[in-house]
């Protein structure tokens, strides 16, 4: 009765690989929720972080909002949203986005703030427009840190997206929630293993993105 036994039993059971409750389906659902939540969070937090970081204004307000948002329990928020909004994707997305915005926002702000001011001064003195300074001078240098913020947000989303199952949506959380309900620990352990594997895959994906997107001049000097 050990963990490896559970894992082995779960993954070797052919029934777990087919149908609407099969591993491929649940993984696809999980990835869909996670990617959507990360995209929405990034769409909110990246522009805000870049702008506040570039202008240097609003940093304090940002930090306090982020801290407050971090204190919100995702599960509590899910229940509240469920009560307010009923079934659906929205009550799941809101807690995931709220979870992901602070790390993206704060690291993006800090990343842009910490860019060496002298190339920025040089760029401005050469007649570069502010938007171009932000996107062509500050962003490429801040990119490794910004990606690390996105990465930690993505990992938190992947592990927290299991709560979608509580409001009868899919995803790998299904196995955990159903397994607990059915006292089927094989299923619980299998679901948890899948979450862990997805978190590792997320790490690998971000590592690959950083390899491609970050200039060698920044990567090696950083």
């Amino acid at each position: 009765m050990n963990l490896l036994h559970f894992i082995n039993a779960f993954f070797s059971d052919g029934a777990h690989w087919h149908g609407y409750d099969g591993i491929p389906t649940r993984l696809r659902e999980h990835v869909q929720y996670s990617v959507l939540a990360l995209a929405v969070a990034a769409a909110i937090a990246l522009p805000l972080g870049l702008l506040t970081g570039h202008t240097g204004r609003g940093g304090n307000i940002l930090a306090s909002i982020a801290t407050a948002a971090r204190a919100l329990p995702s599960f509590g928020l899910l229940v509240l949203m469920f009560v307010l909004l009923g079934f659906g994707l929205l009550p799941v997305m809101i807690p995931l986005v709220v979870l992901a915005v602070p790390p993206i926002l704060v690291t993006t702000y800090e990343a842009v703030r910490s860019v060496d001011p002298s190339p920025v001064d040089a760029a401005r003195g050469m007649g570069m427009a502010e938007s171009r300074i932000l996107l062509r001078v500050e962003l490429p240098v801040a990119l490794p840190l910004i990606l690390s913020g996105l990465r930690s947000a993505a990992i938190q989303i992947v592990s927290t997206a299991t709560i979608a199952a509580y409001v009868s949506l899919g995803g790998v959380g299904r196995y955990i929630v159903d397994g607990l309900y059915q006292r089927n620990y094989e299923k619980v352990v299998g679901g948890a293993t899948l979450v862990a594997v997805m978190a590792l895959a997320t790490l690998a994906a971000f590592w690959a993105v950083a390899r491609i997107a970050v200039s060698p001049g920044v990567r090696r000097s950083g």
Binding site: D116, G125, G127, M128, R220
Partner: protein, 376 residues
């Protein structure tokens, strides 16, 4: 020509960075702003490309107010070099240099070709083109900074303490390089430094500023050294003002003596004749005419001159190219008190005593004839 017309910069907290500054920056020459920190020299420079806007007064570029054109158009027409170079670390060297041409809409190919041309101009090896800034030394990075500023061939170059973060040897190299580039390109350069020696070395005109953003003196460097406007300028110029001023007196009119010079294979009669004729010391040269050292005439034995027993001849100067300062330095360095004049190839053309140099300095003072900077 850039005309600064009673410009004041006052910050909201009441600090006055620049106080009613008026001066004219001549075309195709290097104008240096120098002064202690907080004297407003950098603020003045930054007002020329509108990185800072004046509170009062105006700045005219070729008679037109710099406020008249869009700020980024103005900035693209002026090269900008800052301390620590401020290179874009995510871009290769060639792309760093191509920045302004790209902003002006040149094709990538044309901009890169231009960048490669500039690398050669500032003395950077073409093999560095694909490198990133972190792979370059401080001095190389600063050369890239200068090349980047020159890329779009702007008539004006603004340089804000560009060489102050590198070590003295590299700095001297960069200064010499700047003077050489300036000779070729003839830009209107505005240069800010806190180093008075750098100001005197580079400046065609030097503006000495004092704390509170006031102009203390605006003059060519030779005039600054000979006639400082007040105690502040005199103090800021520091010690050795008189010696340093000699850099502006040419050595071409020194009367060189050839009599106290003998070749190492001289015969006894020659040595005796030379000794009787002139100084107590004779300069021995090798068969090529290059100096070996001094010796008292009576210590020289024809056919058996011992090179190792000769006295040091100091540092030779090149008459006409070097200044009286170099000549005097040579004379002071040699224990005999005589300086050795050589031609460009290092062959002795004659020797000159401290006394003769002293007379030349006196007559130069009397005629007040200091020229543009000479050699060293």
């Amino acid at each position: 020509m850039i005309r600064i017309d009673s410009v004041t910069k006052r910050y909201p907290d009441g600090t006055v960075a620049v106080d009613r500054l008026s001066l004219e920056i001549p075309d195709r020459s290097i104008t240096v702003f120098v002064g202690p920190s907080g004297c407003g020299k950098t603020t003045t420079l930054r007002m020329i490309n509108r990185m800072v806007d004046p509170s009062e007064g105006r700045i005219l570029l070729d008679g037109v107010d710099i406020q008249a054109q869009p700020v980024n158009t103005l900035r693209r027409s002026m090269g900008y070099v800052i301390q620590n170079a401020g290179l874009f670390q995510h871009r290769s060297i060639v792309d760093n240099i191509a920045t302004v041409p790209r902003l002006l809409g040149w094709s990538k190919q044309k901009a890169r070709a231009r960048a490669a041309e500039l690398m050669a101009r500032v003395g950077l090896d073409a093999s560095l083109a694909k490198r990133y800034p972190y792979q370059l030394s401080g001095g190389q990075q600063q050369r890239v900074g200068v090349a980047r500023a020159l890329a779009a061939d702007p008539p004006v170059l603004l340089m804000d303490e560009p060489f102050s973060a590198v070590d003295p040897v590299v700095r001297k190299g960069l200064q010499d390089e700047l003077l050489r580039i300036q000779e070729e390109l003839g830009k209107t350069i505005v240069f800010v430094t806190h180093d008075i020696d750098e100001a005197i070395k580079l400046g065609t005109m030097v503006a000495v500023m004092r704390t509170g953003g006031k102009l203390a003196q605006f003059a060519p460097p030779a005039e600054l050294l000979s006639a400082p406007a007040d105690a502040f300028v005199e103090d800021f110029l520091g010690a050795d003002r008189g010696i340093r001023r000699l850099s502006f007196f040419p050595s071409g009119e020194l009367e060189l003596r050839t009599a106290p010079v003998v070749a190492i294979d001289a015969e006894a009669g020659q040595i005796a004749a030379r000794a009787a004729d002139e100084a107590p010391y004779l300069l021995v040269t090798d068969l090529d005419g290059k100096p070996l050292g001094w010796s008292a005439a009576e210590d020289l034995t024809a056919g058996a001159i011992d090179r190792d027993r000769l006295l040091s001849y100091g540092r030779p100067f090149v008459p006409g190219t070097d200044s009286l300062r170099a000549a005097l330095d040579g004379a002071v360095l040699s224990p005999t008190g005589w300086a050795v004049g050589v031609d460009a190839t290092g062959r002795v053309v004659g020797v000159v005593s401290q006394q003769i140099i002293g007379e030349a300095i006196r007559s130069a003072h009397a005629t007040g004839r200091s020229t543009a900077k000479v050699g060293r």
